[in-house]
């Protein structure tokens, strides 16, 4: 009897996440809601300003890693230029915030759209190539963007198209939305924008583009045979990722309030891709984890007096580990390992108790 039930549970078909039994789906949503409330309400109360800043950066970067996760994990396109794309978003947002009195969310939307156009152009080579060559081209283009930004500088309230005034003695800070002037309030604001971006991606993944991307990632010829216009959907992926990265750049502009081209180093894009692969490019949790790894971890190490340079080595080892033993990243492996550990801990207890069926 006991054996039979075990076999049935083992052979029960794995269901796709969208169609879980309602009870489990509800528990999941409940846990997620509690977690979000904790992040939005409790975290700003207990953290020091130092960690609130780090967490705001993590919220910003979660949108960038989310976009990179869509490109790498869902479509199979490798970009090494996402930090430069974010710089474009930050530039556009800063320029608009100095030049106009538009509400902050509208500026974010516009910065996202401007970056979307720029990022899609960056993605045009993707139509012709994949893998290493695409990665190389995005890296070179990102380098070009950095060079341009280093020469033109970020807007600082000056006039003209570039909005940079090298002679001004007093540089005004980039403005924040009225409701989020303080650092804790701006942290909440960033998290809410990030949640909106995650929902945007979720909607994509659950509908037509998500299915088309899954087909493209597995086999382009199978996707074409199924009628997927692969060119269009690849560009769409680049457009979506660039839009979110541009919005992230805008949120970043408001977070740091003074932008310097040195903040957006082309090599950071390489680290970012490594961390996304390590944390898990195939899940939305992977994007959150990757953002915490690149932003919160350095802040922690700094606070403990450990040089953050050690992270480069740690991330290198992490990618090596992920690529060899956990191709779907930490976000997939850690829950599995925990479940296995729980199983191991439970087993001795079950063995000592009499099997359920034999008592009848």
């Amino acid at each position: 009897m006991a054996l039979d039930t075990a076999r049935i549970t083992a052979s029960a078909p794995k269901r796709s996440p969208l169609h879980m039994p309602p009870a489990r789906a509800l528990t999941r949503i409940g846990i997620l809601a509690v977690l979000l409330l904790f992040v939005l309400l409790a975290l700003p109360q207990v953290l020091s300003l130092y960690y609130i800043d780090a967490m705001t950066q993590a919220a910003v970067y979660s949108m960038v890693t989310l976009g990179l996760g869509v490109l790498v994990g869902r479509v199979g396109l490798y970009s090494l230029g996402q930090v430069a794309v974010m710089a474009v978003g930050a530039w556009a947002a800063a320029r608009l915030l100095f030049a106009t009195a538009q509400p902050f969310p509208l500026v974010l939307l516009e910065a996202g759209l401007i970056t979307m156009v720029a990022g899609t152009l960056l993605g045009l080579p993707a139509l012709r190539m994949r893998g290493l060559y695409l990665a190389l081209i995005t890296l070179m283009l990102a380098g070009a963007i950095s060079v341009v930004l280093a020469t033109t500088n970020f807007p600082n309230g000056g006039h003209g198209f570039l909005g940079y005034d090298s002679a001004s003695a007093h540089v005004p800070a980039i403005r924040r939305p009225g409701v989020a002037a303080s650092d804790p309030a701006y942290f909440r604001y960033s998290v809410i924008i990030a949640i909106a971006m995650f929902l945007l991606v979720l909607v994509h993944l659950r509908t037509r583009p998500g299915r088309a991307w899954a087909a493209i990632r597995q086999s382009e010829s199978a996707a074409l045979a199924a009628g997927v216009n692969t060119t269009f959907y690849k560009l769409w992926a680049f457009a979506l990722a660039s839009f979110m990265t541009g919005v992230a750049g805008g949120v970043m502009a408001g977070a740091v309030r003074y932008l310097y081209s040195i903040t957006f180093q082309p090599q950071d894009s390489i680290t970012l891709l490594a961390v996304v692969l390590m944390a898990g490019a195939y899940s939305l949790w992977g994007a959150v984890l990757a953002a915490l790894l690149v932003q919160l971890l350095p802040a922690l190490l700094n606070n403990w007096g450990v040089p953050a340079d050690w992270l480069t080595i740690l991330f290198g080892l992490g990618v090596l580990q992920a690529l060899t033993t956990a191709p779907r990243g930490l976000a997939d492996q850690v829950p599995k390992d925990l479940a296995r550990l729980a199983g191991l801990l439970r087993r001795p207890a079950r063995q000592s108790a009499p099997p359920e069926g034999s008592s009848r």
């Binding site: 269901r15 796709s16 299915r211 087909a215 010829s221 074409l224 045979a225 199924a226 009628g227």
Partner: protein, 237 residues
């Protein structure tokens, strides 16, 4: 009806199709030939992955080669691959639904159309199970379901039974035989299993070295001496 005329495909120095002229009328047709005869190349020309050096293809009085390859699915072309291509990240339902949604048939009837296609091939398990939970045979059936959903006009099956045990092949053969009456589509099947071809196909065409060497009712074609020679390499007398 599909009429290919004088199709020629060259890969570098290799001529994969050499002036192939063939007509497939209706029902389920077989396309056989030794390895490297050009069967899959012919399918690749029809689905647009290979551009022929010469020749024309008219499918139901339309110029198939003038259509962009992803549009051919919307027009009604479906195909399966030698190595089965069920999309592992999607559920069984979504695998079929994605073919339907790119065929531009409207979303209101989609759910029913997908469930009908799954029922037609005999996949009666949980439609929302992930593909990785399916057996090899069920994944082959899923591919056929993807090929019959949403008003297909031309269904190309490339070795649909490759690697399947006998009893599963029997079920698959029954499904393939019913495709034309169920969907109205002209079905062309490439396979090396002659018992499967004789069971499913009323007419069969034989390719050898990129040329059509026989075409007609299956039983007659399989007894044809040219065909025997192409397969078994009998000496010229």
């Amino acid at each position: 009806m599909i009429e290919a005329e004088n199709l020629t495909v060259r890969y570098g120095g290799v001529t994969s199709l050499d002036g192939m002229t063939v007509t497939f009328q209706s029902g389920t047709c077989g396309l056989i030939g030794p390895n490297g005869a050009g069967k899959t190349t012919f399918f690749n020309v029809l689905s647009g992955f290979v551009r022929p050096a010469a020749g024309t293809v008219r499918a139901f009085d339309q110029d198939l080669l003038a259509m962009a390859h992803y549009r051919r699915a919307r027009w009604g072309l479906r195909r399966t691959f030698q190595t089965e291509q069920a999309i592992e990240d999607l559920s069984v339902f979504d695998n079929v639904a994605m073919v339907h949604e790119h065929a531009r048939l409207g979303g209101s009837s989609r759910r029913q159309a997908v469930l009908d296609a799954l029922a037609f091939v005999g996949l009666t398990g949980d439609p929302y199970a992930t593909v990785t939970a399916l057996s090899a045979g069920d994944r082959r059936l899923l591919e056929v379901a993807r090929a019959v959903v949403g008003r297909p006009r031309l269904v190309l099956l490339d070795e649909p039974a490759a690697g399947l045990p006998e009893e599963e092949t029997a079920h698959l053969s029954e499904v393939i035989r019913r495709i034309p009456e169920h969907t109205g589509a002209l079905t062309i099947m490439v396979d090396h299993d002659m018992s499967l071809v004789s069971a499913c196909c009323q007419t069969t065409a034989v390719l050898d070295f990129g040329k059509l060497i026989a075409c007609g009712p299956t039983a007659g074609v399989l007894r044809d001496e040219h065909v025997m020679r192409a397969y078994l390499g009998t000496a010229e007398v």
